[in-house]
Symmetry: C2
Amino acid sequence: MSLSAKQAFVARNEEKNAEVAAILSEKFGDRCSQSMSVREQHGHTTTWLPNQAPDAVVFAETTEEVAEIVRICAEHKVPVIPFGAGSSLEGHLNAPGGGICIDLSRMSSILEVSEADLDCRVQAGVTRKQLNSYLRDSGLFFPIDPGADASIGGMASTRASGTNAVRYGTMKDVILGLTVVTPSGEIIHTGGRARKSSAGYDLTRLYIGSEGTLGIITEITLKLFGQPEAISGGICSFPTVQAACDAVIMTIQCGLPVARIEFLDPLQVKACNIYSKLDMAEEPTLLLEFHGSEAGVKEQAEMFGSIASEYGGSEFKWATKAEDRTVLWQARHDSYWASFTLRPGAKGVATDVCVPISRLAECVTATREDLDEAGLLATIVGHVGDGNFHVLVLVDDDNASEIEAAEDFVGRLNARAIEMGGTCTGEHGVGQGKMKYLPVEHGGGVDVMRSIKKAMDPDNIMNPGKIFTLN
Amino acid sequence: MSLSAKQAFVARNEEKNAEVAAILSEKFGDRCSQSMSVREQHGHTTTWLPNQAPDAVVFAETTEEVAEIVRICAEHKVPVIPFGAGSSLEGHLNAPGGGICIDLSRMSSILEVSEADLDCRVQAGVTRKQLNSYLRDSGLFFPIDPGADASIGGMASTRASGTNAVRYGTMKDVILGLTVVTPSGEIIHTGGRARKSSAGYDLTRLYIGSEGTLGIITEITLKLFGQPEAISGGICSFPTVQAACDAVIMTIQCGLPVARIEFLDPLQVKACNIYSKLDMAEEPTLLLEFHGSEAGVKEQAEMFGSIASEYGGSEFKWATKAEDRTVLWQARHDSYWASFTLRPGAKGVATDVCVPISRLAECVTATREDLDEAGLLATIVGHVGDGNFHVLVLVDDDNASEIEAAEDFVGRLNARAIEMGGTCTGEHGVGQGKMKYLPVEHGGGVDVMRSIKKAMDPDNIMNPGKIFTLN
């Protein structure tokens, strides 16, 4: 297996890795797997980066067990990679230096729900769908929705967001506190249950988005929200990307508290039509959802309708019936898989950037032109209320020059977003895939990140070879 | 001047401090002051902790000047304390080891406003009122309102919030990016203008609330919000604290997007009546404000009215007229000063805690009983939508046993809040006044904070003696 240009080198100590795998196998019995299929499955999953398997996978069941595993790894200076649902996209789960993957999926207990305080505490392996099923009868819900049924721990680690972020924020906004196993195997608690605090450094938000490089998140205290009294949604197509984006800007400027406002480019609409058997117009399209009181969502939908018509949008078709909305949003959530109908058997190079919304139309338009010039087939879909969009490039995995062209495109896309005051990733994270863009975006800030990493994890055992190199 | 039990010892090197003061005096001329009155004024202002003046105060005008001053201090290992408007409350600005205070108040330029992106970039010395005056005609506003006309840099440094936080969040939620001078005098930029990012460690939120101990914030990129189409507000009194808090909980649970929901205890109402010449009922009282469309605020006010009556509240008197609202909110903002009418000539010991709202009534009630038992005169006022409340104990500055009783009370209040899952400070910060409570709240997390501080500021020159001791 060859090392991609995007995968940083991490020294591998076969002997120590094997020694620790043996100790853990002894201790955890059949909860410690060294089978190649399990190891590879835990290396990477949805990513297009070459697989780098850990030496063993341990299925932990408690915070104390995680701490015990980390202490053993720390003693031997062996890498530790935490695993939730395996839905990350930038090689976060690869093990370039080998070592031990701690699978947290069995830590799936919902420990506490407080209806009075609108909060809950869950283990890291709880998935967002599991949490929402559990909450259904309480009148509460957890709004962060990255599409995949990711684990809450993984979503915290990558600072995930998704379709509802324009209204409810990202993981950094909904997490009140964490339980973390530090690189030396200590168990600490950050934050608390107070809605706000000025008590010391914000360790909670330092761990959120640190991608397992500073410690392993084992429990999360989350804000919850009341299920809206009424929900309505709808769809509207526009003559140009510019017109669709202008409608988005106006919607945000007017303070319309839209819960979701998603963009699909014409090719993405085509793919969704095929995959989900729909007949949406193959134009730049916005899907929307409004949450509020009965009167409130009606008012919001009407306001959006008049904004849309101002920018040449089609008649805004709105769906108050849950079934109709479900069809639309299922199609949106399936858009990743739908894209592959355009090139069956292709591999996907998924990437995301985020720009100030005033630059969104320009960025999306330039990106489409860039793709066309490079001869790449790709769909574009976006959480445009935040200025965040995704490109899924469909490549032939066996064609090195196609993969290289896709990688080059990703480089240009990132440079474009950063130049516009944006970021090289709105929600996927850095992992291995975006390491080289981080210094372009953050300059000397990366040195500060490095100094924090070195102080908190002096032996560099926590998910090494991710986010930035240490030198 | 004696060292309070709450003021950590910081070694003072008179010779080096004097040497650096001389260098800066030479370089900055009359923008470097060594007069005792200026130095003491920059030590502490509103706090009750003993004054510890810096050796010199330099009035910086640019980020580059701040960097230059920091480099000189770093070379000589002399303390640096940043100063904004001087409105902090926990001794944040004291100079226990002497050193150089950098006054940022002349860095008061609003550098950029983007109406399309609802954001702006300001220098650290811009105050919140200045920013809102500037924005008035744009249709935008900056919602964070801690009462005092604090500087944006100071508000970032203490993770401030205030009356609007229940709707618009705290400083951690509205800051997109920062320019920071590091302890070695480098200039770095964190975050950016994208609404969200997963690109590396969240340095922005690490600096927010770090109280100048990790670097000096010189520029801030802020989210702005559209001025609401309609605002209404009102007042409602309740038979008991419990009833008022229950009404708050129900309001939050119903998802009523209240913009402000403030509690005043009967003694605070009395003080406000005297100071602002009002005739509010001297009962547990809630002041509210709603933002939205005309129809929206009407709906919100009606919903609140019916919640209030369910909990035995008085008829909810609502004020849609701006003048009437201004009178109410001015009284609320003047509540700090109003409290002194209850004991003219007294000194105030101001403190704040924050608890999960389900524990709020219990915490406020126990706190009032505690004050009565301790024979302390104090007012209670709170941003109760967040579970955050303030106590202002009125003490005779010359009576050591009274001050001790107030300090003991603050200790019990913090223990009570932490025991309830809350925090020792919701918005004032730790400074010197709350250092001893931080380990009670965060346990081993404080060791992690220490390791970050040591890595980022190895010579401990940035605002030493604040938040935690280094050992």
